[in-house]
Assembly symmetry: C2
Homo-oligomer: 262 residues x 2
């Protein structure tokens, strides 16, 4: 049986193709999110690479912000459930998921069945989200994926006292103007995101093991700052952005099993 999970986020679309609910036989990510043709395109790519057509897929499950408007989907499921399912597939011992995306941050605490026990989210304020990093990378004229490398060069992270992205932007500009090193400033930026999200995580209540997902999980600077703040090791994976799509594909599999009484 082949199922397909598609996660249509605010800035990216992700797709995972699963065989028998166990083997990932295709997965892709495209920087083109909700309101674009990204989702359709990425499904095409995954199918083409696997030399399959849509008619050979048993069930397509959509998730993410854009899940309701994706024509080819057989059904849709909230990103929270999909996320939890995807992460538990990778490591069944995970109990806390910290997800920092392009414009929001979520912390989920789940039990061993993947059921949500507590949850908090910030999608109102750009501070503590990927958007904060984008704004800063833009000031620094450094590609976002190079922030990590630069943060490692920090001798003493700059202290950014404003939480607000807009006020922090001015602070960073004046720190650079007064000769602070770019490395120190970037480390300060990573700390700022981490401390904001740590606040959210503490309110949810951290239980080990902890897994980080979402686009910002790729950023080692933020990850390490979060480990320090929360005093727990934080796992992640190169494919941590795919967790929602993976979870959707797993849910699709479970759905078909249920429908066919397997």
């Amino acid at each position: 049986m082949r199922t397909l999970g598609i996660d249509i986020g605010s800035t990216t679309s992700k797709c995972v193709l699963l065989e028998n609910g166990e083997h990932i036989i295709g997965s892709e990510l495209l920087v083109a999110g909700i309101g674009t043709i990204g989702a359709g395109k990425i499904m095409e790519v995954v199918l083409k690479k696997a030399q399959l057509t849509l008619s050979e897929i048993d069930f397509v499950m959509a998730t993410g912000y854009g899940r309701r408007n994706f024509e080819p989907a057989n059904s849709e499921l909230s990103e929270l459930s999909c996320h939890a399912k995807g992460v538990l597939f990778k490591n069944p011992l995970v109990r806390t998921i910290i997800d920092i995306g392009g414009q929001d941050a979520k912390v989920l605490r789940i039990n061993d069945k993947g059921i949500l026990e507590n949850f908090m989210m910030n999608d109102k304020c750009a501070a503590g989200t990927g958007r904060f990093l984008d704004v800063m990378a833009n000031i620094l004229q450094i590609p976002i994926n190079e922030l990590e490398k630069s943060a490692e060069l920090a001798e003493k992270p700059a202290k950014i006292s404003s939480t607000c992205t807009v006020f922090a932007e001015s602070e960073v500009i004046s720190q650079l103007a007064s000769g602070e090193t770019v490395g120190n400033v970037i480390a300060g930026i990573c700390n700022s995101v981490a401390s904001r999200v740590a606040g959210l995580a503490k309110r949810v209540g951290i239980e080990e093991e902890v897994f980080m997902s979402g686009g910002v999980a790729q950023n080692g600077g933020v990850r390490k700052a979060l480990e320090k703040e929360l005093k727990v090791p934080i796992q992640w994976s190169e494919t941590s952005q795919m967790m929602g799509a993976l979870g959707a594909a797993i849910s699709a599999y479970e759905q078909v099993k249920k429908e066919r009484c397997i």
Copy 2:
């Protein structure tokens, strides 16, 4: 007796020269705030215009963010007290002051003696402050003091759903791209500031008469939107940015009277 009040804000310095605690014989505003030589300069200008020297001033009272580092001041006083005093001097019936500055917003409820009864402030988030307007004026490439005129051309204010300055910025850009008129967008921007500050004001509790001060009081778009939101008339004055400095000059007068047992 001559007293001088100086209000050193984040982006502007204001100075008022008062005779016998009653007559304003000089007042100036300079766009150069804390950390600049603005405060010293503006005092010089006021003294020069009045053909006086510092030695002919009985007392200099400083207020505002930068009040602690102003050498020539005899004393310093919190901006809240000064603000309330300045406004009551203009109109003794005022009970609520809404002050939207360059990077903060405050709502004060005072009694007939100018004593603070309730107070709330936002200085953490750029939304609902002058900074929000600055960011938007910058996108629109419209000088900040022309926002009012443009807001008046609005037929149907655009709805900006994000409170956050950063997210609202993206919303405004995409509204403009999809053909929304600049007038409607600016009216939407004014509404956004007003609704944020109205939230603060409602928590403080509005009591009439209501006076608006701070740099943003100059902006009729925000003022009118606030009147609508709060369902009360809102007074203001061309010199509403001077209230803190005026209050400081009055406090200086009271201080001298006390010291000399007059």
